[in-house]
């Protein structure tokens, strides 16, 4: 990966992705070899939106590389609520840290931050936009089970606002995956994501029901349908119920089907599924550590190389 920042999955080539995943595998095989690799460096965790697992995952990954981390504390108590612009905030924080992880409620926030600072920026979620580090750990999980070639995947749930979906779908085009998108009509893929998929000539099909495609799938990627997307609570319960996975449904699924979920789940996957051979969502979350270690390692290495040359690398 030659980039300074990781902002969207669309910026990643197949080679970029495989390089990070290879490194993640090496990290997982021998974590001790990476333990002091970035000792003395600081990672800033800029979360303008509540998050526990993504923030902790980056925090843990950084510390396992020997880094320290600094955070913003509670969003409400920070300068954000006093009206400081994101542009100013990241410029200030740039002076405190060697890299910056950003989660923000506005789409495009990470792109803007990347334009304002010289240290590496990782987009950890921008509104309903992108969440590319999640995609890297998703791909790592899929690769360990099935490899990334000749893959048929079903992506189900909130495809409209689901940033993990937008990033994953874009990255999968680099591997020519067959992608099935399963959602209620009102939560179909947004125009911008569909545009990118069509531009790459991706094989995509959209469905309202899982059942007709279930037996073709290698991977079923389930996402949460959020209550706040529906004006009416009864409508939410009706729709959410139709996109719920349980053990009985999976009786008809291929034996080697992998079921994934970016977590947190509410009730879209019944707890009984956890006990089946299909469930992979906890491993998926755990994979966040080696993958984010590999990602931070790569970006810091790029930043060093750029610093040594005394000039900016090509973006």
């Amino acid at each position: 990966m030659r980039q300074d920042h990781l902002i969207t999955a669309t910026q990643l080539s197949r080679d970029d992705i495989e390089a990070v995943l290879d490194r993640a595998r090496a990290v997982a095989d021998d974590p001790a070899a990476y333990a002091d690799r970035h000792a003395g460096r600081v990672l800033a965790l800029c979360f303008f939106e509540p998050s526990t697992r993504t923030r902790m995952s980056f925090d843990s990954a950084a510390k396992r590389l020997g880094m320290n981390t600094v955070g913003m504390g509670d969003v409400d108590s920070s300068s954000v609520s006093k009206g400081e612009s994101l542009s100013d905030t990241v410029r200030v924080i740039e002076g405190y840290a060697d890299a910056l992880v950003l989660r923000h409620p506005s789409e495009g926030a990470a792109t803007l931050a990347g334009e304002r600072v010289d240290v590496p920026v990782v987009n950890a979620g921008d509104g309903a936009g992108q969440h590319p580090s999640q995609t890297l750990l998703d791909l790592h999980t899929i690769r360990e089970d099935h490899g990334l070639d000749d893959l048929t995947i079903g992506i189900m749930g909130d495809l409209k606002y689901g940033r993990t979906v937008h990033s994953l779908a874009a990255a999968l085009t680099e591997f020519d995956a067959n992608q099935h998108f399963i959602s209620p009509e009102s939560l179909r893929l947004p125009r911008s994501v569909r545009f990118d998929l069509h531009e790459t000539g991706a094989q995509i099909r959209e469905h309202e029901e899982l059942e007709p495609v279930l037996d073709e799938l290698d991977v079923l990627y389930v996402t949460r349908i959020q209550k706040e997307r529906f004006p009416d609570e009864n409508e939410y319960h009706r729709v959410a119920g139709e996109y719920r996975i349980d053990a009985e449904m999976l009786d008809d699924a291929p034996d080697d089907l992998t079921v994934m979920h970016p977590l947190p789940r509410v009730d879209e996957i019944a707890p009984e599924v956890d006990e089946t051979d299909h469930a992979r969502y906890f491993e998926q979350a755990h994979n966040g550590i080696p993958v984010r270690m590999a990602l931070l390692d790569t970006l810091l290495e790029n930043a060093n190389a750029a610093g040594d040359e005394g000039s900016e690398v090509d973006r």
Partner: protein, 152 residues
């Protein structure tokens, strides 16, 4: 000399934007950031009969020659427009508009949740894509409705 030729050639120095799609003349001025306060003589013809377009608008700006980048932005709302640079009553240059690769600071993003609508000190930037433009920040695509999002 026909009525039509008279209209497009009678300024002394400046730019005549001809063959603008009917109804887009004011948007052309908005895109160029011209509202009269600059002191240029500005005249606008609307719904002028045209062989090529049926009806068209014409915009004339005196004492101001448009740059190529300004002209290119016009292609988004007036793809058929012709640009006549006039000096001493003579058309010295006649150009068609060409689509630019990107447009900076002219359009506003229709996505209310876009960072460019969050009070940041940032200019909008759109990539020109097949039959539309696309926000460089949030990736929202704007098609036929471009004119509604011109920042005036």
């Amino acid at each position: 000399m026909s009525e039509h030729e008279l209209r497009v050639s009678k300024i002394r120095d400046g730019t005549v934007i001809d063959h603008v799609e009917a109804g887009q003349a004011l948007n052309v001025l908005a895109i160029l950031g011209i509202d009269g306060s600059e002191g240029f003589g500005v005249s606008v013809g609307m719904n002028v009969p045209s062989d090529r377009l049926g009806r068209k608008d014409i915009v004339k700006v005196e004492d101001r020659e448009l740059s190529q980048s300004e002209v290119d932005v016009l292609s988004l709302i007036a793809p058929e427009a012709t640009i006549n640079i006039v000096r001493e009553f003579e058309v010295v240059e006649k150009n068609r508009v060409t689509r630019p690769d990107s447009v900076t600071g002219v359009l506003s993003c229709p996505n209310r949740n876009c960072i460019t609508n969050a009070g940041e000190p940032v200019q909008t930037r759109f990539d020109v894509v097949t039959d539309g433009v696309r926000c460089d920040y949030c990736a929202t695509i704007l098609r036929a409705d471009i004119a509604e999002h011109i920042d005036v």
